[in-house]
């Protein structure tokens, strides 16, 4: 129902008459309720993968299916959290979260309850009537996440959601997302170039090559997490201190370093 | 839901269709006899009239002579507006006291449409060159002033601080820091100024002139010669485009030299 399947996906960009191959044969299955992170060098096409699941871009070859159905257009069952937050500046926090429910056709009487629930969940109480420009980056992204979750989507697509936040806010958001994801599990595709973030959040980490992007390796994190019982630790810095964590992180770093051209550091 | 993409072929097809619709409907109505040809000439009738006016004088002069008249006044008014507005704006941006003194007066007069000065223009200058020049000046002056002012006022403070720590005098700062830094704003302002000035010219010539394109159109209207009026409109539009293109070119060259 919420299984994401990439089959033989290739993506070609044409600019000024020249063809650029950005994705070269992606085969990937994200199981139901699995949290998968994609990391890779800039331009490797990881965001393109997410946008194809979202229905904002389409493969030149191959298919992208969600729940067995071919993706043809964007929709609320595949909710997106954008790096730029993408909140409507003219709507209040409440109205922003409400908008998706309204478009879904949920009657007004029934909309209040889920909105209130997610405002509480994302610690936004008191800000219901605020406009996005009055909020910090972290708060805005919380609204965006609340907006996405309020749709009760089968699939959650997060495109470097914490990329625009400062380091401290980022850490806080990562902890919150882990709590949220464990409580409300669903299929998640998470794009990032921060390896630590990927290892901390995901069940599996997909490492991509540089352009034209292919899958270099898929690292299974969940088994290590369960074996080492990271979930017993409360804080993110404690988890990142674990030898098992460091080991995984270094492994991924090595894979990424292979991708660098001579001359880059 | 996305903006539809357009192939080059579709673009040209639709654009041509757009033109065709305009000229088609125009020609059809003109030819149908529904409206007397005095009131609605055909498109080619207008072109014929334009050509005719280059040889046969109307309202005193040929169309080129009227144009020269108009452009002459325009350059005078625009030139004055730039020559006074730009330096004044720069000085106002630098000397706070000057800003405080001039701004209230400027703001008060600003809301009066340039064309409202026509009666005084007529009173003071008759139908001589002074009248339209005054109106053009009133139209072209505000943008020139405001943009020079903004350019000077919002210069990066760092530049001024650097100059001051190097011991530059006030005068030197104005000429060698403020002025160059404000150039993009000044040039943008002059482009707007040029456009507004040209528009004001037209208005002035409709009322207080005895030559010029506006005057030509008024006389054309008086003799219900729509083709003359339309020929005038085309001439005005064409010169307006030329002025705008020239100034945009100049703006682009200046910006390029400065590495933007």
């Amino acid at each position: 129902m919420s299984e994401i399947v990439f089959e033989g996906v290739r993506r070609v960009f044409t600019r000024d008459g020249k063809d650029f191959l950005t994705l070269d044969g992606i085969d990937l299955t994200i199981r139901e309720k699995e949290f998968v992170a994609i990391v890779g060098p800039s331009g490797c096409g990881k965001t393109t993968c997410l946008r194809m699941v979202a229905g904002l871009e389409f493969p030149s070859e191959g298919t992208v299916k969600v729940g067995g159905k071919l993706v043809t257009a964007p929709g609320p069952e595949r909710a997106v959290v954008f790096q730029q937050f993408a909140l409507f500046p003219w709507k209040t926090v409440w109205e922003n979260i409400d908008f998706g429910l309204k478009c879904k056709g949920v009657p007004a009487a029934k909309r209040g309850e889920p909105i209130r629930r997610f405002i509480e969940l994302m610690s936004l109480q008191g800000y219901e009537s605020a406009f996005p420009h009055q909020l910090s980056g972290g708060m805005q992204q919380r609204v965006a996440i609340a907006r996405a979750y309020a749709l009760d989507p089968a699939v959650l697509l997060m495109d470097e959601p914490f990329g625009a936040l400062d380091a401290q806010t980022r850490t806080v958001m990562q902890e919150e997302l882990v709590r949220l994801a464990r409580k409300n599990p669903r299929s998640v595709l998470f794009i990032t170039h921060a390896v630590e973030e990927a290892v901390y959040l995901a069940d599996r980490v997909v490492v991509m090559t540089r352009r034209p992007g292919q899958i270099r390796e898929i690292i299974d994190v969940a088994s290590v997490r369960r074996a080492e019982d990271w979930d017993r630790l409360e804080h993110i810095e404690e988890v990142m201190d674990q030898a098992s964590f460091v080991h995984l992180r270094t492994r991924i770093w090595r894979l990424l370093r292979e991708q660098q051209q001579p001359g880059e550091h | 839901m996305n903006r539809d993409a357009l192939t080059a072929k579709e673009f040209w097809l639709l654009s041509t269709l757009g033109f065709a619709t305009l000229f088609g409907v125009w020609s059809a109505v003109a030819l149908s006899g529904f409206v007397p040809s005095q009131f609605l000439p055909t498109p080619w009738g207008v072109v014929e009239r334009m050509v005719e006016l280059t040889a046969k004088p109307f309202a005193g002069y040929t169309i080129q002579q009227h144009l020269v008249s108009s452009v002459g006044r325009y350059l005078l008014g625009f030139g004055l507006a730039a020559a006074i507005g730009v330096p004044l704006g720069l000085l106002m941006g630098w000397f706070r006291w000057l800003d405080d003194v001039v701004s209230p007066l400027f703001e008060a007069v600003r809301f009066i449409a340039p064309i409202a000065w026509v009666p005084f223009a007529a009173l003071w200058f008759g139908t001589g060159i002074g009248g339209p020049t005054l109106i053009i000046f009133m139209g072209a002056f505000p943008p020139a002033l405001i943009n020079a002012y903004r350019g000077a006022k919002f210069v990066e403070p760092r530049f001024i601080e650097a100059a001051q720590t190097l011991g530059a005098s006030n005068w030197r700062i104005i000429v060698e820091v403020l002025l160059p830094a404000s150039v993009p704003s000044i040039v943008a302002g002059l482009r707007i100024s040029a456009g507004l000035g040209w528009q004001s010219l037209v208005g002035a010539e409709l009322i207080v002139a005895s030559s010029g394109i506006g005057y030509l159109m008024v006389k054309g209207q008086a003799s219900i010669s729509t083709s003359t009026v339309m020929a005038g409109m085309i001439a005005i539009g064409s010169v307006g485009i030329i002025i705008d293109v020239l100034l945009r070119r100049m703006e682009a060259t200046i910006n390029r030299r400065r590495g933007r």
């Binding site: 229905g55 904002l56 929709g75 609320p76 909710a79 954008f82 730029q84 993408a86 909140l87 409507f88 500046p89 003219w90 709507k91 908008f99 998706g100 309204k102 478009c103 996005p132 749709l151 | 839901m1 903006r3 539809d4 357009l6 579709e10 673009f11 654009s15 041509t16 757009g18 033109f19 619709t21 006291w97 405080d100 001039v102 701004s103 209230p104 008060a108 809301f111 009066i112 449409a113 064309i115 409202a116 000065w117 026509v118 009666p119 005084f120 009173l123 528009q199 037209v202 208005g203 409709l206 009322i207 209207q221 729509t226 009026v229 005038g232 409109m233 005005i236 539009g237 064409s238 307006g240």
Partner: protein, 258 residues
């Protein structure tokens, strides 16, 4: 410190205005500026009283103001009623843009005032001709700025709306229009300015009533004081309408900081 500075500025502003008044009074009283060419403050006051109480050019001041405002509103509202939706369509649909743009390219360079002779030929010297020219003058800025507003809409906002499942009319009403609103209002402001300029010009050329007609009559009667009265009220009415538009703008966009 800043408050003191602002207070100082107000003082200077008031001083400047009073100073200019004083200068005006002196120059006209001593005859340095001849009475035939300009008016003294006293004469202006007398003219103002005359037009308000007895009337001038066949009507009282408030009637002239009403007439002018009426025509401006008619032309302006008609222009934005057509122009803003057209701008939205052209901004959103490349097809619409390709089709309509050529007509625009031809009409745009022609200054609005250049339409006056044509309007008079077609519609005579009455109100209709003036409304037509005001329409043309107000139309172009509203289309262009609305178009710019649509194009300026951030792509990720459009994508977010698609992802959230917004259908066509919901999208237009709740995303497109609010998103383009700042630019749309800029267009409205420019349209209003153009409307006033065109109105005054049209009434100067020929009208029965209106502020422009006051100017015209005063010009023919060589009545500088009345000319000034006319000019002052052209400024005041134009300024008042602009201020009103600004107030509407502020109230419709509560999320704007500046």
């Amino acid at each position: 410190m800043a408050a003191r500075r602002r207070f100082g500025r107000t003082q200077v502003a008031v001083a400047t205005v009073l100073g200019t008044f004083a200068l005006w009074y002196v120059l006209t009283a001593t005859g340095v500026i001849s009475a035939a060419r300009f008016a003294s403050p006293r004469e202006v006051w007398a003219a103002l009283t005359q037009i308000s109480v007895q009337g001038y050019a066949d009507a009282k001041l408030w009637q002239h103001i009403l007439q002018s405002c009426k025509l401006v509103l008619m032309g302006f509202l008609a222009a934005i009623a057509v122009g803003v939706p057209l701008g939205l369509a052209m901004g959103w649909s490349k097809r619409a843009e390709a089709y309509i743009n050529p007509i625009f390219l031809l009409l745009r360079p022609i200054p609005p005032l250049a339409w006056i002779p044509l309007a008079i030929v077609w519609l005579g010297l009455g109100d209709a001709a003036k409304v037509m020219v005001i329409f043309v003058a107000a139309f172009v800025p509203s289309v262009i700025n609305t178009y710019t507003g649509v194009r300026a809409l951030e792509p990720y906002l459009v994508e977010a709306a698609a992802m959230l499942g917004a259908k066509r009319w919901t999208f237009i009403r709740e995303v497109l229009v609010p998103g383009a609103a700042p630019h749309i209002f800029t267009g409205l402001r420019l349209s209003l300015q153009a409307s006033w300029t065109t109105l005054v010009a049209g009434e100067l050329v020929g009208a029965l009533h209106g502020l422009g007609q006051v100017l015209n009559a005063a010009s023919q009667d060589i009545f500088p004081a009345m000319i000034l009265v006319g000019m002052i009220f052209v400024g005041v009415c134009g300024g008042a309408m602009t201020w009103l538009l600004g107030a509407i703008e502020k109230r419709s966009m509560p999320w704007r900081t500046s």
